[in-house]
Chain length 347, copies 4
């Protein structure tokens, strides 16, 4: 962080700023230029410090030059974080496909979907037991019963589970069932929840908030990491813009940006990112071409019967087609898809 | 909600849509036009239903015509909701000014501020004991100790208290101290928290999320209302836009819009809305001119020593000036300020 | 502008940056700090220079500290610019109300509106002869015939005229009729048009682009000013955000921001800013409370018969009510309305 | 367009609405439902009609159901538009790469770049002779001299030229040199300019405005098409959002959306879309995976010496690498790259 002093600022102003910097547990180094005095702030700063210093008398401007996140930064850890869940590695050479229904509805629905997506090449099963809903009059998930249905599907297929946890109180319960805890976009800055999942030993997938900058997203990851849980993956799921044709605007450029700034794996969710099933495949291919480590895809045996988000869910057929179209794109960016059940038999 | 069928849609398509409507507990009324068939959906709908129906075969478009919120709607309750907190009425003829420090830091800081803002004409004391922070390395509030300091200030000044609650687990604790529970912008869609404060008997102030539409904001209010707590006030605190000169863009037009759509009182927060102290006064005046029922203003004895958000806090002097400038604007829109301590003596 | 060098940057890197700065006609002053080297760039910089320097080897970050606009800056001219149009002064103590129909349709429509708005206290007549339309299949204005109708209304009422010019080729024609040339939001960065109106001697009102930052807006004003035309006023008319309930989001905070950064007068346009007639009055009051120098209001004798933007136009009755409600708000912020026709008789 | 009447609306209200519809040259068909009356509007509507009708007494809401653009719509023309420029076909099976410097600076710069990009597989040469600049103090292009340099490069390499035209007055001049006329993002709603290029016989590339919806973009294309020029291609170049890490947010989802709604070819510009050279390649691959018909890439022999947009320009080496990485991605989506100069020799 650099503090640029005003042209006419006084010695007292300078002392005041240096005092405030020391008071915040940091050090200030003064560079006297021809026109202006600039103070370099050394130590671990944070975004709000900017406002605090900028407000002081004699200060022209405060400029953040070091990044406010640390543990999630590639400067701190150069190598990619790889997260192992059962046999699946997220953040490695293989592209990971997470698939399943938006919400858990019935045992049949989940089992049928789980078998199908496994068959088609998915590595992890998704499904919501606790669902956030914009309106209180909507379906909010089956809760614990939903978790049990998911566990059954894991037992039958061997697919690890990812499911969302909505509130700190449920972390222990959800962690008993899930292999990966999902933090939804609306909870990206639910800091108590972040602390709580940070205290577990479970991998966490942190979705980007609807209007979160990339820096805020990494700072939320920092909450989890700083509690000692280093198994964090990020999920780009679209940001809110003025364009309403799509439900959100999937920020594909965030994928290579995050890969540059951070060592954490990045998953793309074209289902929520677009809100329309016919856009899921082109955006899934685009995300992979841009460097995503994985995809999160909503699949439903009968999307038109779905209790939630049917419009963005793929049918079994469309999902199989997606996986078929995916294969050459994955190869084209020097990655691979995991071996499919059928392939393994051949070995 | 209207379902517009495609020109070439079949009888089976129509039957399918009607079936889905019935399955969702609603009724469908068919209007056969010259060019197209339109189905009116009768009953309490919700935003996601649009996606569900739009996805069905033969459907051209689904159009929401009734509002998805009910209890917060002015159609359901025509008269303004008035919330009584001690002697203060929010949503009545008098403009309510809520003032105090962003975060509770010390007893001295809070007591001095409380006395001053009361003197200057504020009706309610604000102060954060549990603070949401973008970075885990920042000050996160004094917690329970902060609540006790606030209670002390109430005892000394008689001002009712508003303070933020961050997580469902803390609702009971915070409700023991606070007169009004504040839900912050980042928690506007923390539905478990909304349920929890909805179960208390305490008035709740619900801040608008950074990227929440007015409809989503009212739906979040609906969560609280539908739990039986009808003492809800809304707070416009700025939305996130492309403009970065201000911290947020205070959406002044949301004030008359919400007053038209809903019977709930609306407070404006120009401190967070702008992030710069010198914009607080002009935006406070603007909010009142546009019809706000109250203001929420950050005040600090030494903003340059503040642990949080000093840049947007008014000094005691600036706050007094704001109150002086406020008076004629309040009169100009046929409202009044409450009698000040000094005035009461005169009666 | 400050150039912050990377920690491990070399002497060659530094030389390269200094060379580039000199090549751009500017000077670089090196400050060697404990941890990093910082170069101050002295001279008139511009936004893109940041990208150019940031790209050079060894550069960590480039930070703009001086503003890229000059003639529009309050640092260069401390006193408010006052623009005199006939008897009307824009940017002085009196609030200026500009009113009239969105588009010129008929002589009757314009004459009736002009007389009424004058009667009610407006100082300037607005009306579009050349209209920008999103679709090619819509009404695009009466052109020269419209200008003649406007001139007739000026002759009858004495009100000065403001009307939009869409293209450099029409500047000469429009300037022959208009007292103030209006540049619409869609043309804020039509630089050839800005140059052209900059070459006239006519006052210019520059509307903010739908997605223009305040800095970009001032830079567009700079185009006009740098051609020698110093009679520029700015008009805030709403920015595009994710909220779709209002047509645009009127950025009221931009008013005090621009008053601080620049000496140019600021007008607010709540008609385009909200797109809904019932929001025009509250937002007009808010803009005045926030410090606007004037208002631009659409008025139509029969809004439901209007060829363009009827939904945001006030009827004669609503406009009179607005003017009545405006008076006390104007006084409350220590400004005044010009004497009305009737008032003058009394003197 | 559907007009939904209020529950309590009268016969007079209905007559008024029908009258307005007829007056606008359209027909209204009334459907009397159980709860509400709905009027279907038949004929070519336009966005503002919604506001006009919504304003009428008795109207609850107006819902656009038919699209306001016609000639650009896939409903009107099912087959893809293919634009032939010399030997190059845009919108066909082959992916078209347009490459070259942001601004024309010198003959050497353009010639060297043109030869290199041709060698590497580009089909069309780009280069700006008239440059839009946010600030009046910046480089604004070489003008006619720049066009001559471009023509020289075409003569030497055989590559067709695309270059921007900024103002209606220059259309004739630029069309004498260019093979494709480019309309920049800031001019997407410069309707006089759109009319003018619509009157030429030259192919036009229309960039999306920074805050333009997909519908507005197609309506701007409609301006050109309705003048009789059917050789229009669209270019997605990023939209303005709250995220500032990237210069714009490249809206990759707009590519498949436009391909669905329209028959016009779509080009992606990852250089302007991201503003950072190291993001150009991943976003270029993503755009192709999502279905883009072509790419527009800025290349400069010495980006650090560029007069404009060096930070987003690729070096010769990086461009060659991009083309190498592109090949397998292009194949993976069943398209091909044109044969390169070297390849032709082999035939």
């Amino acid at each position: 962080m650099l503090v640029v002093m005003k042209k006419g600022s006084t010695k007292e102003d300078l002392t005041g700023v240096l005092h405030k910097i020391t008071q915040s547990g940091l050090n200030g180094h003064v560079s006297q230029g021809v026109e202006r005095t600039v103070i370099g702030v050394v130590g671990q700063t944070y975004p709000e410090l900017r406002d605090i210093l900028e407000f002081l008398p004699g200060v022209e401007e405060v400029i953040p030059i070091s990044k406010p996140y640390k543990l999630s930064s590639r400067e701190v850890q150069h190598e990619n974080t790889r997260i192992k869940v059962g046999d699946v590695v997220i953040g490695g050479d293989e592209l990971v496909v997470i698939a399943g229904p938006c919400a858990v509805e019935t045992e049949n629905q989940v089992l049928a979907t789980a078998k199908m997506v496994k068959e088609a090449g998915a590595s992890i099963l998704r499904g919501g037991a606790f669902k956030p809903s914009t309106s209180p009059y909507q379906f909010r998930g089956l809760g614990k019963e939903g978790l049990e249905i998911l566990a059954l599907a894991r037992a039958e297929t061997g697919l690890p589970l990812i499911t969302e946890v909505l509130t700190p109180h449920d972390v222990e319960l959800v962690a008993r069932y899930a292999d990966i805890l999902q933090i939804g976009a609306r909870n990206m800055q639910n800091f108590t929840l972040l602390d709580e999942v940070g205290k577990t030993k479970k991998p966490v997938m942190l979705k980007r908030g609807m209007s979160a900058t990339i820096q805020e997203w990494l700072l939320s990851a920092e909450y989890i990491l700083s509690q000692g849980n280093r198994q964090v993956m990020l999920c780009e799921r679209g940001i809110r813009t003025f364009e309403t044709y799509t439900r959100n605007t999937l920020d594909i450029s965030a994928i290579p940006v995050v890969k540059k700034l951070s060592h954490l794996p990045v998953i793309a969710d074209p289902s929520h990112g677009t809100g329309k099933w016919y856009l899921v495949t082109p955006l899934a291919l685009a995300a992979v071409a841009a460097g995503a480590d994985g995809l999160m895809i909503e699949v439903h045996p009968n999307p038109d019967q779905a209790l939630k988000d049917g419009a963005q869910s793929l049918t079994f057929d469309s999902f199989q087609q997606l996986m078929t179209q995916l294969a050459p794109v994955v190869s084209s960016v020097q990655r691979k898809l995991p071996a499919k059940p059928g392939d393994e038999v051949d070995k």
